[in-house]
């Protein structure tokens, strides 16, 4: 039991870092922890992963809203819409609301998760390649339809994003697209510097609207917060369903919830609340195939499976989950309560710093996003292309600030899944 507590605490703390720091996603973190987790009991691995996944969702929104730098892909909506609200002095309220609804949607989703345990196999059976293709096409149509530019501009940006992300070697089609095998672009154009250059840097480096900033702490009112419960529940339901889509999982959850809310209300506050509720719900439902059937649907889950199967041939993940259901349930509820308090308190204490050190924070945010993007490029042996992409994207992002670049970024993020689904579809049905 002490082991479980230790790995649970470690998952909680490292998950916060994964949420705060761009580039350090849950997948990279699980990969880095592989050796340590290899030598421990399988239940500790699963508890650690649950802690990482949950805390990364809570704190991904914190860094996105305060600095405008998304810790992971699912926090992109918060960095786009939430950071603007923080610049207007509404960050503290927003952080409280997102923490509150993250807690609520997390707990609701866990109840749904337990109810779905018996239905998990039926849901997995229904996710054939045809269904996955339809879901992805709906997501692409939503991205193109709901963005702020004209429809034709959105379609062109989406096509450009698809083209850029296709550059390089395709393991699905086993060939190079648009470049030769010895080209410096043979690894492709990474999406992180494009996101940083087009969306993050122009946003965080813009002059802060001082007149709209409030020097006094914001008034946190539960009554005001509760007004958004329908928005949050809507986001949680969308997030829970889309969280089970292989590959994109809770990234698709937050994106679709944000785009739908933009269409329905176009209120940045509601958009962030909806997307954050969705990614917390999605982070729970994404575990369904893994915990019930032993099927990993994200990169980080594949690593968890690799650790467990390398570690033991006697127990499977569903066996471990079923045999320790009470431990998992207790841990999940406790960390959600802890993370709510941490994110909330973090919100109230950070607001003072935000108001006091606005310019320093802007500089720090730019350094953070540039540093982490370059570090990831270096780690992947693709530093030069990363730097070139970052510089070009930043220049374009600053010069064409009025364009909504979201379609290009989201399609680049989705491209690997679009490509693998297309490859599967072609082989199976054409």
């Amino acid at each position: 039991m002490i082991d479980v507590f230790m790995f649970g605490s470690m998952g909680l703390i490292l998950g916060i870092l994964a949420g705060l720091l761009p580039g350090l996603g849950t997948g990279s973190l699980m990969g880095a922890m592989f050796v340590i987790l290899m030598s421990t009991a399988p239940i500790n691995v699963l508890i650690f992963y649950l802690g990482v996944l949950t805390s990364a969702q809570y704190f991904g929104s914190v860094s996105s809203i305060i600095t405008g730098v998304p810790g992971d892909t699912s926090s992109i909506p918060s960095s786009v819409w939430g950071h603007k609200l923080a610049q207007q002095g509404k960050g503290e309220n927003l952080l409280f609301d997102t923490a509150f609804y993250s807690l609520l949607s997390g707990l609701i989703s866990f109840v749904l998760f337990l109810l779905m345990v018996t239905l998990g196999l039926y849901w997995a059976k229904s996710l054939s390649t045809i269904v996955q293709t339809i879901l992805l096409l709906i997501a692409v149509i939503c991205i193109i339809s709901f963005s702020q530019n004209k429809l034709t501009v959105n379609a062109l940006l989406a096509a450009l994003g698809l083209g850029l992300a296709t550059i390089g070697y395709s393991s699905n089609f086993q060939t190079y697209f648009f470049v030769e095998a010895n080209s410096m672009f043979r690894h492709g154009i990474p999406w992180l510097p494009v996101l940083a250059g087009l969306l993050v840097i122009p946003s965080v480096s813009s002059p802060i609207i001082k007149s709209q900033l409030s020097p006094s702490p914001a008034i946190i009112s539960i009554a005001t917060t509760l007004k958004n419960y329908i928005v949050a529940i809507r986001g949680a339901v969308i997030g829970f369903i889309l969280g089970t889509v292989p590959g994109l999982s809770y990234n698709l959850s937050s994106l679709m919830a944000a785009k739908l809310e933009e269409k329905l209300s176009n209120d940045p506050f509601k958009i962030v609340v909806s997307s954050e509720s969705a990614n917390n719900a999605g982070a729970v439902s994404t575990l369904l195939p893994l915990f019930i059937l032993g099927i990993p649907i994200t990169a980080s889950e594949s690593i968890v499976l690799a650790i467990i199967t390398t570690n033991t041939t006697l127990q499977s993940i569903p066996d471990i989950f079923k045999n320790n259901l009470i431990i998992f349930s207790t841990y999940f509820i406790i960390i959600n309560l802890l993370l709510f308090v941490a994110a909330w308190k973090f919100a109230t204490s950070i607001s003072t710093v935000v108001f006091k050190y606005q310019r320093l924070l802007a500089i720090f945010s730019v350094l953070l996003v540039v540093g982490s993007t370059c570090w990831l490029g270096y780690y992947q042996g693709n530093l030069l292309v990363t730097v070139i992409t970052l510089i070009l994207s930043t220049l374009i992002g600053i010069y064409f600030k009025k364009i909504d670049w979201i379609p290009i970024v989201f399609i680049m993020v989705m491209q690997p899944f679009l490509e693998s689904t297309a490859a599967k579809f072609i082989q199976l049905y054409l």
């Binding site: 054939s128 699905n172 086993q174 043979r186 059937l293 099927i295 569903p318 042996g381 693709n382």
Partner: protein, 301 residues
Amino acid sequence: MKKLITILLFSLISSFTLAAGRLTFLQIGAPGANSELYSNLMSSRLSERGWDTSLLNFLDCKGAEEWIKKNPQKPVIFMTWSDDFVLPITQPENPRSCPALTISEKTLVTVINKSHHMFCSRGDLGLTEFMSSKPTKVGIWSHPVQTLVAKDLIKDLKLEHKIVGFAKGADLLQALVSGDVDYIVVSSENLIRNIGGQCFLTTASPVLAKTMSNLKTTQAQTSVESLGFKLSRLGTGLIPLYVSYNTNIAALRIDIVDILNTRPEYSKLYTSINQKSGLVAGQSTAEQWSAFSSFLNSFTK
């Protein structure tokens, strides 16, 4: 805020000073991929035994080869899978393909093989159904060894089953559960235990396939060993083989592909490599480590 900056700076500095170790592991593959995980594992096992090790990742072979050329005096362990090792012949365009892998007396190549491959179904189909003439769909992870195993078995049995390649191993299970394919080729029956599936072992030999009964998943592992496939392990469930200096890598690759294509017994692959490398791995984990460590000592001095 200060703490955050400190953590950020610490992580940046740590990552940039990673390459300072005495014994460097080179591996090709995306961060978080299995190759990195197992390189990490091997590296840590060596660290436990007193080696000063570090790990470098490259997205393709070109980057790794450039690094070796720039650092000829640094002892290097180049980690590769048997699947990747034969890529220059089977998929020369693949970025993981290393046609002119530089081996000096300071470089050691480790080739890792999975112990066996098996065909698995959702549970309603077994070996008998597989061998019937009714065409069906077989999902494979698009890597050379699995491709060869599946293609050869289907060809040997004169079947018309369609092979569907998946870029990620994880997609295979989903495809099987959702009914996109009827069989998948995997190297561990653990993966399908929870969906009520069943597996039968194959090394693509029709004689072996025909003599085997329709095995339940829990019996498959026992059957592997009862058929004489009891193989030495290095604590990871995988088989490491070492290729030393002066080995003719091109010839070795051809041999491996030939064995994979024509093997009557899969174990011949290991015998062949051990003879070529001049290093015979011990039967127990301790003996393997002992052999590996003494070999490392000889080339790092």
